[in-house]
Amino acid sequence: MSSEAHYQSGASLVETVRRYLTKTKSQELLIRSTTLISIYLLAFCIRLFSVLRYESVIHEFDPYFNYRSTIKLVTEGFYEFWNWFDAESWHPLGRVVGGTVYPGLMWTAAILYKVSNFLTACIKLRDICVFTAPFFAGNTAMVAYLFGKELKDTETGLVAAALMAIVPGYISRSVAGSFDNEAVAIFALTTTFYLWVCAVNRGTIASGVFAAFAYLYMAASWGAYVFISNLIPLYVIIMAVIGRYSRRLYVAYTTFWVVGGILAMQIRFIGFNHVLSNELLSWNAIFVALQVWELIVFLRAKLGDRKFGQLAYLLALGVVGTGAAAVVILIASGKLNPWTGRFWTLLDPTYAKKFIPIVASVSEHQPTTWASYIFDLHVLVFAAPAGLYFCFKKLTDGTIFLTVFALTAIYFSGIMVRLMLVAAPAFVLLSAISISATLASASRELRLHAAATEAAKSAPAAEAAAAAAPKKRAASKRAAAGSDEEPLPSRPAANWAVLGLTALAMMSYAGHCIWVTSEAYSSPSIVLISGWGPHRHVLDDFREAYYWLRHNTKPDAKIMSWWDYGYQITAMGNRTVIVDNNTWNNTHIATVGRAMASNETEAFKIMRQLDVDYALVIFGGMSGYSSDDINKFLWMVRIGGGVYPDHIKESNYLNNGDYTVSDRGTPTMLNSLMYKLSYYDFGNIMTEHNKGTGYDRVRGYEIGNKDVSLEHLDEAFTSEHWIVRIYKVKDLENRF
């Protein structure tokens, strides 16, 4: 108050700074903003390990397709990308990329590129793509702060932002170089949930519209928009069931449904899913149910009870009858699209194993083990159940939403390892609530204790101290909130121990996250590193082989390889491939699998049909690279056998149920094209000191047939460590 009386407009800088820094509000603002800026920088920097160790390169397989699409978008413009038909993949079918891709990521990278170029920071497009993910990770941490603030208070928000910045479950898919959908989709998911909780808390149309625009970004970025589209109706149902339905919820959901649905249907890949697909049935059903409910409430208010009762009975009969009939007609006439295979797996985990081998073969779709939880989340696995307890202790609309989100996300993360990514924000927010509540109650008691001892020391008499202490407690703002909690008498040591325990837990969490990021999640997988220090060896075989393809084959050459490598070959080798990672056509993939699994003559016929010029295999026996095609071969047999059961039988490739390429291997196995292409010329090589020739370093034994001869193919290129092997398909023989 005194500063207002003595206000001087010409105060010096030092004086102004001193005046600001002595006010509690500005101290708090300074601490908060410094913390948030450090969190942002931490989230960005921790993801840079692979850039510092290797170089700024795009990782894995899928990001190469996204990179190629972004190049198309930036160089040829929006409409060329929107209507793109790609003739360079899935020869001879081609792929309608414009209608089968989620464009959110490409738009984001293109906008960042155009903006940075406009501001004369001329960053290369590849670098923009590499650093998109860390940039959005920082943004996600900021949104986590806002979300925590909306759920509870500012302290929870700060803890949530700090935890979100380095949680390994999120880092695994958003390191620098991982230019994949999840990089922006998790940001979109957290923003949608935050804006949805804001909309429910405020109940205005404007907040609903904001949530709908965040939903548009999510629908444009990732297929998990289906998760949001079912989670929010589920939340509405639960709120109605536990008796917390309110007009705010109605306004929020109606606005969200209308605006969000229309916006999401603008994406070509989504099309009319929102009105036609089974996966989004609850999305529409809840909208209809809400309107019906509000109509009933309105009619009851207008009609009076008796008339309303008669009307309700008649209407209920009519509605149930027509609704059931409509659903039956739609399903029978085939208008309602069935649930796609990927989403069936989430409800019935054994479905994919029995019916869709392609979905079951992807390593990311395997179910989760217990160790993945502690590895990806560390102390958050302990703090999350406590957070659930705190949410149940004091139910608000926002915490109920968080509980529903967390329970569904945790269940789905148990079914598929990849969905640990979606569960990570849920774990972070729950843990933030529990950690912040623990810290808040401990520090509140410490402050009360300090205030009590202060009062005891300053008051002259013991009675005056006893009388003043409760008054002091009542006066202090913190105590007013926790009226049910009383500090244990003279126990500051326990509270200091709680603070110490939390500090140790956070330090251990930070150490773990940094180690995990550095060791496990920063490998670009296109460049392999083995050895330490002076014995470090970099294996750059993939890029060597793809650039060989780019420079030494004719421009319209067609490459046949297993679908894993399709995106990389088109992006780096710039050549047409037969199948790639999009896996949209199972029969085409099965044809390639059948070719790889048949003997050379049969395979040659298939390759002539498909117009193949070069066959590419990945072989790890010389270098010890274990994710090679021989290890994936059984999946080729299974997928090929699924479509051509008369030609390919899995039992022909197994010796008593044992998968082996040694001399115990079956003749079908040892004569298959894959075996020949992998082990051509390998029988004469000595790979380890005291083993014979042809010792396969991945399988751990000598191969069966060391004398491989090829009739219809010629070896064209083998990379330095034999990891990539390319063979040219010979033309038909001259008969005359």
Partner: protein
């Protein structure tokens, strides 16, 4: 159904639902979905190289994406126990209980949290010898 006069009374209390949620958390984090799909044995077996005797092996080594049933259950158990420890720390602040209970809860809370954390760290070091090196 007869003894409930309204639907309201059927509604379970929040703490009951919270207990159910913690039980389901235990099952999910124990890797029950993995157990159902891949059907691993309850414990694995290693042969001792010197004597040739077959010893049980509790943790599937070197792979984060494989587990035995008992290993998963013990992991999930300690996750839930750690959560219960933090819950106990908060329960100790309830002023309606006697001081003995509150001290007991606080002590148990510390003990359970630290025990779960230490156990999980030990487990992960057994499973992945290269952890934190």
């Amino acid at each position: 159904m007869g003894k409930f006069s309204s639907l309201e009374e059927l509604r379970p209390s929040p703490m009951f639902v919270c207990t159910l949620v913690l039980v389901s958390y235990f099952f999910v984090t124990a890797g029950v979905a993995y157990d159902i799909i891949n059907e691993p044995p309850a414990v694995g077996a290693t042969t001792d190289p010197v004597t040739g005797a077959v010893k049980p092996m509790t943790f599937m080594p070197y792979r984060l994406n494989g587990q035995f049933i008992l290993e998963g259950i013990s992991g999930g158990f300690f996750y839930t126990l750690g959560g219960v420890g933090i819950i106990l720390l908060d329960l100790s602040r309830d002023k309606n209980k006697s001081t003995l209970f509150r001290n007991f809860f606080m002590g148990m809370g510390f003990f359970l949290t630290l025990l779960s954390w230490a156990a999980c760290m030990t487990f992960i070091r057994i499973k992945m010898p290269g952890y934190m090196r």
